[in-house]
Symmetry: C2
Subunit: 308 residues, 2 copies
């Protein structure tokens, strides 16, 4: 992971080092979790590895690791939860890129999965990655997470991914092409489409360790809501101001497809102000949570101040 | 559910009554599990209900209920597990019918989901149903299934659904169009594509109750393998000998698409003999398991002797 902006040192290890180690950890864990590319059905497994490995900002895994520091969670459990989140995220990108959805040919600077392997395989890649996510999450039991907490985490991930979460947000997105959305409707769509899974990353990471007290849960909830929305607001800003080379995907696509975005609904300046407000809310939560929440704070800065 | 062949009475309640009650139970449980059709995103929820409710032979739910009788499992837990299996099965049908896969327009006598709601919505319906399956399974905890057993059930369902199970079988199916498969390769494909989920239905139903002893597990495993394969052999026979009206789907489709089937690999007579052999293996298991396995035995007869 390359950091687009300098992040101030805080504590012993710099954030850049910490996040680089997190990216290596989740890459290794994903590589071990995904079936080898020569295991039958080989083409499917090769395509699953193509979809997941070697790219992406790994924001959700980093949120898992950062939240795990709040509750002293074991590293193996965090790896398993981080893989689960990243498998869900990767499957959603593969399906979202298909011709019947966004019809995108470029993702993370590479041809999308359906361009490289065909539509039918791309659909099965997404389907199999969703199953693998739940398999990985169940594996946290072997790392000392109590079984009732594992079941609770499964519920959290299922709801964040399903029709009232991410898949539901994409359905609203589909119905909104060419429509004029209110700010409230846009926020509802994005809370589901992007916010639900980012929030789940924070909750699952924390749930791998000691049970958090009520105060911690309160501030984590505010943090989740703030970064979940900020991520999408900044995405919408970058879709207008970014270029394909640094984004690793086609820029200006949302506007071209007539999709409502924060920029189209609020304008560019108000969108930037909203991102700043959300960052302030995240900072407030992090300050209340104290020094174990340091990495969560740094990820919030990264989400809002990134250039790609 | 209408029974295509008379099944002999055994014990107090006839099988026809028992299976009709099972179909009503799972229909009610699915209707309660699926979000209401007027809840946002309404079109997605309407399409999910269209895909799942009001049709299908409900073979997997009946296997869950029948296996639950072996271990004295509570009805609420069996309903939740039955819903999980049926959501996975329904999602696989919705995705399998899409133009990039089998391109089928008729399912259970109705237009397929993508014909009725469009391809993008159909893809999201499948994605959301998979998440809902894991949500439902996690709900068995509330019915007294111990948390470690719930986690084990989640692993079983994830593996049966993913790249080494159902989705993997579909990938092999894709690669096999126009190919000449050996009998072993065909069996491997079907053990994944159909057998894995039918087997999971038996295991999940049993796992909702008392932990089975080693002997029970042995005979259940033989039963699972036999009916998992028999189901597909009979499907292939019916694809040749059945008609669209009684099948509720397009007949002769596999042969037309150049897909290898038991009939194309072994011939019709040898396929019928294989189905008989598998039924004999299922009967042997049921005899060894004794009277609590009565319903499992009746379902095996139904799977092999059905006409649609």
């Amino acid at each position: 992971m390359t950091l687009p902006v300098p992040v101030p040192e805080s504590g012993a290890a710099a954030f850049a080092d910490w996040s680089a180690r997190g990216c290596v950890a989740v890459e290794q864990a994903l590589s071990a979790l995904l079936p080898p590319a020569d295991r039958a059905p080989a083409r499917l497994h090769e395509a699953m590895r193509y979809a997941v490995l070697g790219g992406g900002k790994r924001v959700r895994p980093l949120l898992v690791y950062a939240a795990g520091e709040l509750t002293g969670a074991p590293a193996g459990a965090l790896d398993a939860a981080a893989c689960a989140l990243e498998c869900i995220h990767a499957y959603s990108l593969v399906h979202d890129d298909l011709p019947c959805m966004d019809d995108d040919v470029l993702r993370r600077g590479k041809p999308t999965v359906h361009v490289a392997y065909g539509e039918a395989t791309a659909m099965l890649v997404g389907d199999a990655l969703q199953a693998l996510a739940f398999e990985s999450l169940a594996g946290t039991l072997g790392w000392g997470v109590p079984a009732p907490a594992v079941v609770e985490m499964t519920l959290t991930l299922a709801r964040a991914s399903g029709s009232i979460g991410m898949a539901g947000g994409q359905a609203i997105d589909l119905e909104s092409v060419g429509a004029r959305l209110s700010r409230e409707a846009l926020e509802d769509m994005h809370r589901r489409k992007t916010g639900a899974l980012l929030g789940a990353a924070v909750r699952l990471g924390a749930a791998c360790g000691r049970a958090p007290d009520a105060g911690t849960l309160h501030w984590l909830a505010q943090y989740e809501r703030a970064i979940g929305l900020a991520f999408q607001v900044v995405d919408d800003i970058l879709d207008v101001t970014g270029d394909a080379a640094s984004l690793g995907k086609t820029a200006g696509k949302d506007a071209e497809q007539g999709k409502p975005t924060y920029v189209s609904v609020l304008g560019l300046d108000a969108s930037r102000q909203l991102a700043d407000t959300l960052l302030a809310q995240a900072r407030e939560s992090v300050a209340a949570l104290g020094s174990p929440a340091r990495r969560l704070g740094e990820i919030a800065e990264l989400i809002v101040l990134r250039q790609s």
